[in-house]
Amino acid sequence: MILNRRKLLQTAAGTAAFSSLLRGDDTSGIVATPHFKPTAKRVIYLFQSGAPSQLDLFDYKPVLEKLRAKDLPDSVRQGQRLTGMTATQTAFPVAPSLFQFAQHGKSGAWVSDLMPHTSKVVDDLCFIRSMNTEQINHDPAITFCQTGFQLAGRPSIGSWLAYGLGSENKELPSFVVMISQGSGNVSDQPLYDRLWGSGFLPSRYQGVKFRAATDPVLYLSNPPGIDGTTRRRYLDDLSALNAINQNEFNDPEIAARTAQYEMAFRMQTSVPELTDLSKEPESTFDLYGPDAKRPGTFAANCLLARRLAERGVRFIQLFHRGWDQHTNLPKQIRGQSKDTDQASAALVQDLKQRGLLDDTLVVWGGEFGRTVYSQGKLTADDYGRDHHPRCFTIWMTGGGVKRGLIHGETDDFSYNITRDPVDIHDLHATILRTLGLDHTKLTFKFSGRHFRLTDVKGRIVNEVLNAA
C-alpha cells in the first residue's frame, strides 16, 4: 500500500497545527506584529574581518602629514589600553596615510584613492566615522560584533533576526553566510562557525554557510549514482513509511520531519539555481568586476548576496578576511581594497537599479579600527597599524538609512571620537529598528534571564535614519 504523498501531507498539516508552532516546519518568526514600521525587510552585512584601517580609507586626517614620525602625544592617547603587541613599544610614531584622499559626490565625503568605485556611490552611503567598541583583540571583537557580547555562547545577529522575523522564503534558509579570503593578510584572523551560530536559540536559527564548493550547502548533492528522479521516488517512499508510523503514534513530529525532507528536496533545486551565475548577463560582471566569475571571491559573494536578497533571504552575511595590517599595510591594503571596492559599490548600484535598495539594509565594516601610530618601523613607504577600538568607520545604505550622510567625527589623529559616538550595541539597535524590531523587546529566556542582542544597552541612532 502506498499512500498518496499529497494526501499524507494534508493529514499531517491538520494534526500538526498546534505543535508546528514549536517545531521545525514553521517559517514564521516570534514577533507577530512588528514593534515599529519596518523600513527594511532584509540585511546584507559585508563584514570586513581583521579590521580595515579607517585612516587609509575613509577618515581623512591632513594634519598628520606635519606630524609624521613624531611621537603620538600622551594627551591624545589618554592611557588607552594597548594590545600586547605594541604595549611595550618605546615609541608611537605617527604614520600619515600614504594614500591620496579626495572629496566625492554632493555629500563631499572624503574617500581615499584605494576605493575608486566606492567613491562614485558616496551619495548613496551613510558613513559612520564614530564607531567604537570595547574589545581590542579579534576574537572577542568579532564575537562582540556578531552577538553583542565578547565571549562565545550568545546568538548571532542573523539568528536573532531569523528567530524574530522568520523567513520569507520556504526554499532557502533565512540566514546565509559566505566567506572569502582576502589577498591582504592570508594567514591571519580565522573565523569560527559560532560567529553565525544560534547560541542558546534553537539551532534551526543558525546561519547556513554557502560555500564555493560542489555542494554550496553541506551535503546538498545526492550521492553519485542517485539522480533527481530516484530521489523524488525515494522521498515518496519515505513519506509513505513515515505516514504509517504517524498513524500509529499520533506524533506531529513525524509529519514535521517529512516536511523537512520536502524542504531539503526543494533546496536541492533552489540552491544550485541560486548559485548558478551562468544566466547573469555580461553587464552584471562588468558591474561587479571580473572576480565575480570566480566562485568564492568577495565579488562573487556580493553577486550571490543580491540573488539571495531577491529571493527574500532575511540576513545575508559576507565575511571577507585579511584586513589585519599590523605590518606591511600599504601593500596589503591595496589588495584588500581591490578585492572589495568594486563589488561593494556594484552591489549598492545593482540593488538600487532593481528597486531592492529601499528595503534592503547594507552594512560595510569591520570589528574595530587601527592605530594612527605605526606598529613596527615607519619608513617612507611602509608602516603597520595595531588594533584600535576607540574609533573606526563603517558605512550603511538602503533600508531606511539616510543617504549621502556623514555621521560622527574623530580628532585630528583619528584616535578619539569628538562627536556622536556609536557603539556596537547602538549599531545593533539601529539595525533591528530598520527591520521594525525594538531591541529591548526581542528577547529569549535562557538560564533565568531574558537575553537580548543588545544585552542591557543600545541606543537607536535615529540621526542616520529617515524619519519614520
Partner: protein, 997 residues
C-alpha cells in the same frame, strides 16, 4: 520561547482549578519574571524599599498602605497596580513591558485571598524523604516513581499507558543505557525470554556493558565543555582525552556521584592524590584558553576563573551564578560579593591569561594510560636490574680506572645525544666576520636542546651563536653578549611572541670560559638555563611569552646574529638533542685533558667507562645508561592533561566592579552564598572544602540537580525543565515530590549512579508505550505528565553510531586520542586559511561519535546539524530541532551512504535468499523490529524500482558503490547491491530510525 512559557498552564488545566495556590509554583515565577528587576534581590537596581523576593519586604508598611494584605485582595496595593491598565500607576510600568495576563492576576488574587502564604524558594529547602502517594491503579506501580507519576495523572484525569511492545522497549533501554541499538540477536533473545525478570536481566546486562560509561559520558562532556582545541582565535589542538577517558571509566566503575564530584573539583587536594584523581580535575581546565597575540593576559585570567565558577554552579548547583558577575543577582539570592567569594576558590592555580596557542597550557601533567603505566613500570624494573648489574662491577671499575693511563693530551666529552660539533680555535672573530655552520641545529620550540661552547670574549657585545634572522630582534634563537651580559633569545615576533633571559652579572672578558645554554622545550623562560663554567647563572626574565615556533630557515651562525658580530675567539661548539642536566654540563666545562685529571675525577671515570673499560663493563654501563635515556624519551611521548593545582599561598581575590578585570574592588575571602548552608567550620577553605560542601546531604541542590539531569536523558525533559536553572526564574518542577524522592533516594544509596539509572528504567513509567492518546495529545501535548513514554529524536552521536553498528562498521575501542572521520574537504581551511582537516583512514573512520575530534571553531558538521552542544561553554539542556540540513546529511553524507551500502551487503549476505526476507533483515538492523505488511509493501516496491533503475544504468550503481573507504564484497552483483543500498538508506532516514520511542 517566551511566548510559550505559559502554555504549561494551558497544558495542565488542573493548575487553574479550584486547588490551593502554591507560592513557589504559582506566585514566585510571576514576581521573579515581572517584578524582581526593580523589586528584587539586587540592591543596585531596586527602585523602592518594596521587594518581592523576601516576605518582610513584600508585606511591609509602605506609607499608608500595604502591597499585600493577606486575605484581603481589595486592600492590597499590588492588585490595584497590576490591574491599572495603561496608566502611569500600572506595574510593571508601561515602558518596561506588557501588563500581567488575566491568568496571572487571577493567581495573585486567589493567593492573597488564601492568606498570601510565603515560602522560601523551593530548591533552597533541603529535600525531605517523601512517602509515595496512594494511586488509582496500585497494580501498575512498579516502584515509587510510578506512584508519583500516576498520582499526578489521576489528579489531571489522564490515564497511564500500557507497557511498550518488547522490541520497542528493548530498543529504547539499549539506546538509553548504551547509546546504541540492540542487535537482532539481542532482540530475539529478549523476545524468547519468558522469565518474569527478563527485562531486569537486560537492564543489568546493559549497565554492566562498557558502552554504558561511554553513553553516560556523552552528556557529561557537554556539561564540562570538553573539546580537542583551545578555542578563541587560532583554536589549535589541545589534549584532554585522558580526562574524557577518566569520565568513561568512572561511570563504568560506578563511582559514587559524591566522589565523582569531589575528584573532579578537587582531586588534587585529596591526601596523596592518585594519578587518576589528579586527571579528574581536568574538568575545570576544559574551558577555552586564549592564545591570541596581543591580548591583555589579566583579562583572560579572569575569564577562565569566571568560566569555572559558572560551569561549577550550573552543573552542581543548577544556579545561574554568572548573573552575579557584574551586579547582585536580579532573581536569586546571590550577591555580587558572594559570587567573587566563590571565584576565590577557583583562582589559585599557577596559570596565565595568555594560554598556549598550541597544545596544553600549564598546569599540566603527564597522564600515562594504564598500558603506558605498565610499560613505565617495566622500564623501572629493567633499569633497576641493569643498575644492579653495573654496580656489581664497581670494584673492577675502580681497579681498572687506577691502572688506566690515557694518552697524553687525550680528551673526552659525552657523545650521547650529540648532534653536531665544530672546533673553531683558529678563527678570530673581529666584529665583522661570521662563520656559517650550515643548515644545522634546526630545533623547534618544543624540542629540548643544549648548546655548549668555549668563549674568549674581547667585548661585551655580539652574538656567540644564532639560528635567526640576522637583524635586530630577528626571529629565531640566539645566544649573545649584550651590554656585558649573556643573553638568550627565542623569538617569533619580538615582544609578543618571544622569550628573552639574561644573566645578572657581567661575563668575564679576555679569558676562556665554558658557556652552555639549555632549552627544555616547555616554551617558558623557566625552561632556559645558562651556565658559565658549569655553574647555572641567576637569570633575569625580560620577556616570557612564547606561543609559536621560533624555527627559521636560516643557517646556524657562529660569532654573529641579530645584526651583531662577536669579537674574540670561540671553540668546541657542541649541540645536543636534549637539555643536558647540570652534572653533564659540569663535565663539559672541564677543559683539562684526561692525562692531567686525578683518578677521582668524574670526567676521567666517564671517559674510562666509554673507552678504557673491558667490553663487559662497557656493555653493562651502556645498557643502564641507555635504558635510563630510553625511559626519558618514552616519558616525553606520554599524553598530557591540563589539571588543577593549588598555589602554596592563595591568590588574592577581589570583587570586580561590573565584572571587569580592570576594576578590582573590595578584597573577598572564600565562602559560599549565605542562602545555602554554611561551609562546615572544620572543612578546609579551599576547593576540597567546597566540593565536600557540595556533596553534603544538607546541601539542598546538588542531588536534585543531578537526578534531574539524569531524568532528562530518559524523558527528554527534566522534571525541572530548566535543568540549568533551579533559581526563581527556573521552571517549577512537573513532579516536585518525585524530584525530592529521587534526590533523597540518591543520597540514601550513597550516590549510587547505576542504581539510580536502574530505578528509573525499571519503573512502569519508563516502560510505557509511546503512543499518545487523543486525550493526552490535547490536554498535555508536551507530555510533561508522562501519560505515555516520550518520543524524541536521538542525540547526534546516536544517529551516527546506530548507522555504524547496523552496518557492521563500528570500530569499538574504549577511549584514546580523538579521531577524524569523514568531513567535507575545506571546512577548516576556509575559516582560517591554515591547515585543513586531515581525515583518518581505516578503523578510525568508524569509532563512536564521542571520540570524533571536536574543533571548537568548526565542530563536526554532522554533530552540529543534529543539535549537539557547541562545547564553547557549559551546556546541560538537551536541544532538539528538526531541519532540512538534517535530511540532507542523513541522505547524502558519505558516512550514511557508506553505512547503507554495508547494510545492503549484510542484507544480501546474511538476510536469506528471498528479497522480502532480506528487506526484513535490514529493517530489523535499523529499527529493531520486523516491518508490518504495509511497510514491507513499500520497501519491496522501492527495491523493485531501484533494481530496475540500476540494472538499466549499471554505471550509476558503480558510482554509488564507490562511496566510502570500506571494501565492498566483490561477489555481489553491483546493481543489486546498489538497489539494496538505496533501500537501506531509506531505512536509515525513517523518522523511526532516528527516534527513540
Amino acid at each position: 520561547m517566551p511566548r510559550f512559557s505559559l502554555l504549561i498552564f494551558a497544558a495542565l488545566p488542573g493548575l487553574l482549578g479550584a486547588q490551593t495556590i502554591e507560592f513557589n509554583r504559582d506566585i514566585r515565577p510571576i514576581f521573579s519574571d515581572r517584578c524582581y528587576t526593580c523589586h528584587g534581590p539586587s540592591s543596585s537596581t531596586r527602585r523602592s524599599p518594596l521587594r518581592f523576593d523576601t516576605e518582610e519586604g513584600a508585606k511591609q508598611k509602605l506609607g499608608n498602605h500595604f502591597a499585600l494584605v493577606p486575605g484581603k485582595p481589595g486592600e492590597s496595593e499590588l492588585l490595584r497596580r497590576v490591574t491599572a491598565g495603561n496608566t502611569p500607576l500600572r506595574m510593571p510600568p508601561v515602558s518596561s513591558g506588557p501588563a500581567l495576563t488575566e491568568a496571572e492576576v487571577s493567581l495573585l488574587r486567589r493567593w492573597i485571598e488564601q492568606g498570601a502564604v510565603w515560602e522560601k524558594h523551593w530548591s533552597f529547602i533541603p529535600p525531605k524523604p517523601v512517602v509515595p502517594p496512594a494511586v488509582s491503579d496500585a497494580a501498575w506501580v512498579r516502584n515509587p516513581i510510578d506512584a508519583f507519576v500516576l498520582a499526578r495523572l489521576d489528579k489531571e484525569g489522564l490515564r497511564h499507558s500500557g507497557e511498550a511492545p518488547r522490541e520497542t522497549l528493548l530498543r529504547r533501554v539499549t539506546f538509553d543505557l548504551t547509546g546504541l541499538p540492540p542487535t537482532p540477536a539481542e532482540v530475539d533473545a529478549f523476545l524468547a525470554d519468558k522469565a518474569p525478570n527478563a527485562y531486569e536481566k537486560v537492564v543489568d546486562r546493559l549497565l554492566a556493558s562498557s558502552r554504558y560509561g561511554e553513553r553516560m559520558a556523552m552528556r557529561w562532556l557537554d556539561a564540562a565543555r570538553y573539546a580537542d582545541t583551545n578555542g578563541y582565535q587560532t583554536d589549535a589542538e589541545r589534549y584532554m582525552w585522558r580526562w574524557r577517558d577518566w569520565v568513561i571509566e568512572a561511570f563504568n566503575r560506578n563511582m559514587p556521584y559524591d566522589r565523582f564530584t569531589v575528584e573532579q573539583l578537587a582531586g588534587d587536594l585529596l591526601p596523596n592524590p592518585t594519578l587518576d584523581q589528579r586527571i579528574a580535575t581536568g574538568f575545570n581546565r576544559n574551558h577555552r584558553g586564549n592564545g591570541e597575540g596581543g591580548i591583555v593576559p589579566e583579562e583572560y585570567a579572569v575569564e577562565y576563573v569566571i568560566d569555572r565558577v559558572d560551569t561549577t554552579s550550573t552543573v552542581f548547583l543548577g544556579l545561574t551564578a554568572g548573573c552575579a558577575r557584574c551586579h547582585d543577582h536580579k532573581y536569586d539570592p546571590i550577591a555580587q560579593k558572594e559570587y567573587y567569594q566563590l571565584y576565590a576558590f577557583f583562582n589559585s592555580l599557577p596559570e596565565r591569561g595568555n594560554a598556549q596557542k598550541y597544545g596544553n597550557s600549564p598546569p599540566l601533567m603527564a597522564a600515562p594510560t594504564p598500558p603506558q603505566q605498565a610499560y613505565l613500570q617495566e622500564f623501572d624494573t629493567r633499569i633497576a636490574a641493569a643498575k644492579a648489574k653495573f654496580d656489581a662491577l664497581q670494584s673492577r671499575v675502580d681497579a681498572g680506572l687506577k691502572a688506566w693511563k690515557p694518552a697524553p693530551g687525550s680528551q673526552w666529552f659525552t657523545a650521547r645525544e650529540l648532534k653536531n660539533q665544530w672546533s673553531a680555535d683558529s678563527t678570530v672573530f673581529d666584529g665583522k666576520n661570521v662563520r656559517d655552520l650550515g643548515d644545522n641545529a634546526d630545533f623547534s620550540f618544543q624540542d629540548p636542546f643544549t648548546i655548549s661552547l668555549r668563549v674568549k670574549a674581547a667585548s661585551g657585545d655580539g652574538a656567540l651563536i644564532s639560528r635567526a634572522k640576522d637583524e635586530p630582534e630577528g626571529p629565531g634563537y640566539s645566544l649573545v653578549l649584550a651590554n656585558g651580559k649573556l643573553q638568550a633569545n627565542f623569538v617569533l615576533r619580538w615582544l609578543d611572541d618571544a622569550i628573552r633571559v639574561e644573566t645578572t652579572t657581567d661575563f668575564p672578558l679576555n679569558d676562556w670560559h665554558h658557556v652552555a645554554l639549555t632549552w627544555d622545550g616547555s616554551r617558558y623562560a623557566s625552561g632556559v638555563t645558562i651556565y658559565v663554567d658549569g655553574v647555572a647563572q641567576p637569570l633575569k626574565f625580560n620577556v616570557d611569552y612564547m606561543n609559536q615556533d621560533f624555527r627559521q630557515k636560516e643557517p646556524l651562525r657562529l660569532g654573529g646574529g641579530l645584526g651583531t658580530r662577536f669579537r674574540g675567539q670561540l671553540d668546541e661548539v657542541r649541540i645536543y638533542r636534549n637539555a643536558l642536566p647540570v652534572n653533564e654540563i659540569r663535565l663539559l666545562a672541564i677543559a683539562d685533558t684526561l692525562d692531567t685529571l686525578p683518578s677521582t675525577s668524574e670526567k676521567l671515570r666517564r671517559a674510562y667507562l666509554d673507552q678504557g673499560a673491558p667490553a663487559d663493563v662497557q656493555i653493562a654501563w651502556k645498557t643502564w645508561l641507555g635504558l635510563t635515556e630510553d625511559r626519558a624519551k618514552f616519558a616525553a611521548t606520554l599524553p598530557t592533561v591540563m589539571v588543577m593545582e593549588e598555589l602554596p599561598t592563595p591568590r588574592d581575590a577581589f570583587l570586580l566592579q561590573r565584572g571587569s578585570y580592570e576594576r578590582p574592588g573590595q578584597k573577598v575571602s572564600r565562602d559560599v552564598p549565605a542562602a545555602l548552608p554554611p561551609l562546615s567550620p572544620d572543612a578546609p577553605r579551599n576547593r576540597l572544602g567546597f566540593a565536600k560542601w557540595l556533596t553534603d546531604p544538607k546541601n539542598p541542590l546538588p542531588a536534585r540537580v543531578a537526578v534531574n539531569r539524569f531524568w532528562q536523558m530518559y524523558f527528554g525533559t527534566g522534571i525541572v525543565k530548566t535543568v540549568e536553572d533551579f533559581g526563581s526564574q527556573g521552571e517549577w518542577p512537573s513532579h516536585p515530590e518525585l524530584l525530592d524522592w529521587l534526590a533523597t533516594e540518591f543520597i540514601r544509596t550513597n550516590w549510587d549512579v547505576k542504581a539510580l539509572q536502574k530505578t528509573i528504567v525499571m519503573s512502569a513509567t519508563y516502560r510505557q508505550a509511546s503512543k499518545a492518546s487523543p486525550e493526552a495529545a490535547e490536554k498535555d501535548p508536551n507530555n510533561r505528565l508522562l501519560s505515555h513514554a516520550p518520543r524524541f529524536r536521538l542525540p547526534a552521536e546516536m544517529v551516527r553510531d546506530q548507522a555504524l553498528l547496523a552496518s557492521g562498521l563500528l570500530a569499538e575501542k574504549l577511549g584514546g586520542p580523538s579521531v577524524k572521520p569523514y568531513q567535507p574537504a575545506g571546512l577548516w581551511k576556509e575559516l582560517s586559511g591554515g591547515e585543513d582537516y586531515r581525515q583518518d583512514h581505516g578503523a578510525d573512520l568508524y569509532r563512536r561519535s564521542m571520540y570524533t575530534f571536536w574543533k571548537r571553531a568548526s565542530p563536526p558538521p554532522m554533530m552540529s546539524n543534529f543539535d549537539a552542544a557547541g562545547r564553547e561553554a557549559c551546556m546541560v539542556r538537551e536541544n532538539r530541532t528538526n531541519t532540512p540540513l538534517q535530511a540532507l546529511d542523513l541522505m547524502n553524507d558519505v558516512t550514511f551512504v557508506e553505512a547503507a551500502r554495508r547494510i545492503a551487503q549484510r542484507m544480501l549476505n546474511e538476510g536469506g535468499a528471498a528479497p522480502a526476507d532480506r528487506l526484513a533483515f535490514g529493517f530489523r538492523l535499523v529499527t529493531s523490529r520486523r516491518p508490518t505488511p504495509a511497510e514491507a509493501g513499500v520497501l519491496s516496491n522501492a527495491l523493485r524500482y531501484n533494481l530496475d533503475r540500476f540494472q538499466t544504468d549499471p554505471s550509476a550503481a558503480a558510482k554509488l558503490l564507490e562511496q566510502g573507504e570500506s571494501a565492498r564484497d566483490p561477489k555481489l552483483n553491483p546493481s543489486e547491491l546498489a538497489a539494496y543500498s538505496t533501500v537501506a538508506s531509506l531505512m536509515l532516514n525513517l523518522d523511526e530510525a532516528v527516534t527513540r520511542q
